[in-house]
Amino acid sequence: MLPLNEPTTAPVTREALTPDVDALLNSAEAEGVYRDSRECGGLLLLAGLLLLAPPEPKPKKG
């Protein structure tokens, strides 16, 4: 039977932290986040065409 007061996590040591220190110091360059102006322009054109499109003809009565 395990003792009830046994700690569930080991204390953090310098040895355990060393890889994380190195990783934080030598982080890779972040991927660029660009706004694609052509894509934005295409979406704007599509939205404009939808707004300017004539309404569908209503069915004639009779």
Partner: protein, 248 residues
């Protein structure tokens, strides 16, 4: 949870916490007339925290996570004393010393690891006058690197952009201000706020920066968009502003 995974989860947060406290100390230590009120609101509030870093982040001075976080920040642990000319807190000097001694660079250390360690040691020597200058790491790569790579590397080492801490890196930065300015613009266009803030700090230190860059406005933009999510962005921007305010 394993030991390593536990460490990995707490260290980035500890780095952010210390960076926020250092940025706050920089914000509260001098003239803030040029600070914009919006993005500065959070750091100014935290500036009420004074005293040792350990107390400010509610950790014991010998906490391994605190020491590791101080090693990641490097010379920036002592940035308020170096940039504002205020006496360093003895407990912060002890923390920086512990960080320097606990994580010496190995024989196969990268340039960033070696230079950040050298910078921490140089900052300690500048403030305390103790110890002999260590052998500086190789800086030959700064002459050969294409400008995007040079800019990224120097942004990782922005903690060495300090007055009174002369280094071969600072000499290299002085030689290539236009390349750093290109890197700043590239980083902003990539929305890489950490890199932009680090380069902005170097650009605030070196002469010959093209006025057309609009560095003060660029720094405000970087802080506005990147400062809220990354305290190190706020730290570098605040350090850059302090350097610009002190420039002749």
């Amino acid at each position: 949870m394993s030991d390593a995974s536990g460490a990995a989860s707490v260290l980035p947060d500890a780095v952010q916490n210390i960076a926020a406290v250092v940025a706050s100390a920089l914000a509260g230590g001098g003239s803030r007339s040029s600070a914009s009120p919006g993005p500065e609101a959070a750091p100014e509030t935290a500036a009420a925290v004074s005293g040792p870093l350990a107390a400010a982040v509610e950790r014991t001075p010998d906490d391994p996570v605190l020491v590791a976080a101080a090693r990641v920040l490097g010379a920036d642990v002592l940035a308020p004393a170096l940039l504002l000319g205020t006496p360093p807190d003895p407990d912060d000097v002890a923390l920086a010393t512990a960080a320097r001694d606990a994580y010496p660079p190995g024989a196969d250390a990268t340039a960033v690891t070696a230079w950040s360690h050298w910078g921490l040691d140089a900052a300690l020597r500048t403030l305390t006058g103790d110890g002999l200058p260590g052998t500086a790491p190789d800086a030959g790569w700064t002459a050969d690197e294409p400008w995007p790579r040079l800019a990224f590397r120097l942004s990782q080492l922005a903690s060495l952009a300090l007055p009174g801490v002369d280094s071969a890196l600072a000499t290299a930065a002085v030689k290539r201000p236009v390349d750093l300015a290109r890197g700043f613009v590239r980083a902003v266009r990539r929305r890489d706020w950490a890199q932009a803030a680090g380069l902005g700090r170097w650009l605030a230190l070196v002469p010959g920066v093209p006025p057309s860059l609009g560095l003060p406005n660029g720094l405000a933009f970087v802080h506005h968009l990147g400062g809220a999510s990354d305290a190190r962005v706020g730290l570098h921007v605040r350090a850059a502003r302090t350097l610009l305010e002190a420039a002749p």
